[in-house]
């Protein structure tokens, strides 16, 4: 059956396998940021870093860098020191690198966390991909899927693992809806129908404060794992 027809119950966190050996000893909470090309993943990562860097020790592994200008843009937007951001090559297969063969990303995550020692939050940004891409639980603890309002308001209705299973769905660029004829309320409603109660947040990331609600969600995830 197509992925979006698989009953959501199959993916409930309650039935998730226990963390891998050693995973419980680390302090950093690993958050995956996925979504189609151009949906705003890099901007979201930059905004989260800017909003949270004073209270949390953050590192970023990004798969979405195609030129060093992208890296510089992220470094400037994130205002994180260069040594806290690492780019990983994915061999033309962004979904493989976050799902089927996580070795390169896991290596980068562990190297960064070991190097900095005190990491609270590790953000793993996937390369832009299609609606079926999802992060392996061996790589991240929780994941955010980012959609673009201007990418078509039928996308949440189409579903797929990213839309249905991500721990948080962000519907971004809602400020553009009026120009592209997208119905944001319909998108939110379709998304909620697919998500079995998991949260959906509409955002506009024109400035960094637009990510505040997502940042609060991330902080809550970290707090929940430290209890």
């Amino acid at each position: 059956m197509p992925p979006h027809d698989i009953p959501h119950d199959n993916f409930l966190q309650d039935s998730a396998p226990p963390d891998r050996v050693g995973a419980t000893a680390r302090r950093a909470v690993r958050v995956g940021i996925g979504g189609p090309v151009g949906s705003g993943k890099t901007t979201l990562v930059g905004s989260l870093c800017a909003l949270l860097r004073d209270e949390l020790s953050i590192v970023v592994v990004t798969n979405d860098i195609f030129t060093s200008e992208d890296a510089d843009a992220l470094r400037n937007a994130a205002a994180l020191p260069t040594e806290r951001i690492v780019a990983v090559q994915t061999g033309c297969c962004p979904h493989t690198a976050i799902r089927d063969d996580i070795a390169a990303n896991l290596d980068a995550v562990e190297q960064l966390e070991t190097l900095h020692g005190d990491v609270d939050l590790t953000l793993v940004e996937s390369g832009g991909d299609n609606l079926t891409a999802i992060f392996s639980r061996g790589l991240v603890d929780v994941q955010v899927f980012v959609l673009d309002t201007a990418g078509g308001d039928d996308v949440p209705r189409k579903g797929g693992p990213g839309v249905a299973m991500a721990d948080l769905l962000v519907i971004n660029k809602v400020d553009l809806a009026q120009y592209v004829g997208s119905d944001v309320n319909q998108m939110l409603s379709d998304a909620r129908d697919r998500r079995d109660g998991r949260p959906v947040i509409p955002t506009s990331l024109v400035d960094q404060s637009g990510a505040r609600e997502v940042a609060e969600w991330v902080v809550a995830q970290i707090a929940a794992r430290r209890q």
Partner: protein, 218 residues
């Protein structure tokens, strides 16, 4: 069989074995030039990798000193710092993934290494831990290289995967001799293992590692 499978999660899909750089300079353009490139790698670095992999596969419980010599000898055959770094990275990733499946004194010894072990050393250790033989190791080493080269070419040039599979099969027949050589590699002193690197491989790897944007690690 799991070690041979391209889906084994050790990061092999991020290795083009130099193909990304060779495509950029026009050295690989089609099936024919891909076949020439693959034959070239098998005659040079591929043979070195297979020899080290087979040698390690014959060790049961090597001392740290023995592994240290193997590490130095392999590094001496790989001049490019970019290539050495990539080789140790792929070794580290293979060790992490393989350790969830296989264990044994040789795996422990490799994991203890002061510097991250090179990929062929880790592969040989897992062959030994899985009960394989040196000629199994040589065959695996071929498949790792051939799979990296062919799958990268398919992705970067859009070549026909069926004709590329035929290239891989045709070239594979030429390394049958490795299965015989493997017995020799298993018992010969490390210093006498093949040392036939390729200067273009090294030069292209150094250039590739400094690209503004690249899709593969090496």
């Amino acid at each position: 069989m799991m070690l041979i499978d391209g889906r084994f999660p050790a990061g092999g899909h991020t290795n083009s074995a130099g193909v990304e750089a060779a495509v950029r300079i026009g050295d690989i353009r089609d099936d024919a030039t891909l076949e020439r490139y693959l034959r070239g790698r098998l005659a040079t670095t591929g043979r070195v990798d297979a020899a080290f992999c087979a040698h390690v596969a014959a060790l049961a419980n090597p001392t740290d000193a023995v592994l240290g010599v193997i590490d130095s000898e392999y590094s001496a055959r790989m001049l490019s710092p970019q290539l050495r770094d990539a080789s140790r990275r792929f070794g580290r990733q293979l060790l992490r993934a393989g350790s969830t499946v296989w264990s044994g004194p040789i795996v422990d010894a490799v994991a203890r290494s002061q510097s991250d072990a090179h990929q062929p050393v880790v592969l040989g250790a897992f062959v030994a831990a899985a009960g394989g033989t040196p000629d199994n190791a040589a065959a695996l080493s071929f498949h790792h290289l051939a799979a990296a080269v062919t799958s990268a070419a398919i992705r970067l040039l859009g070549l026909d995967p069926m004709t590329v599979a035929a290239v891989q099969a045709r070239v594979g027949c030429e390394v049958d001799q490795w299965m015989v050589d493997a017995e020799l590699w298993a018992t010969s002193p490390v210093a006498e293992l093949p040392a036939c690197g390729g200067s273009l491989t090294e030069i292209l790897a150094e250039d590739h590692g400094r690209w503004d944007a690249r899709l593969f690690v090496a």
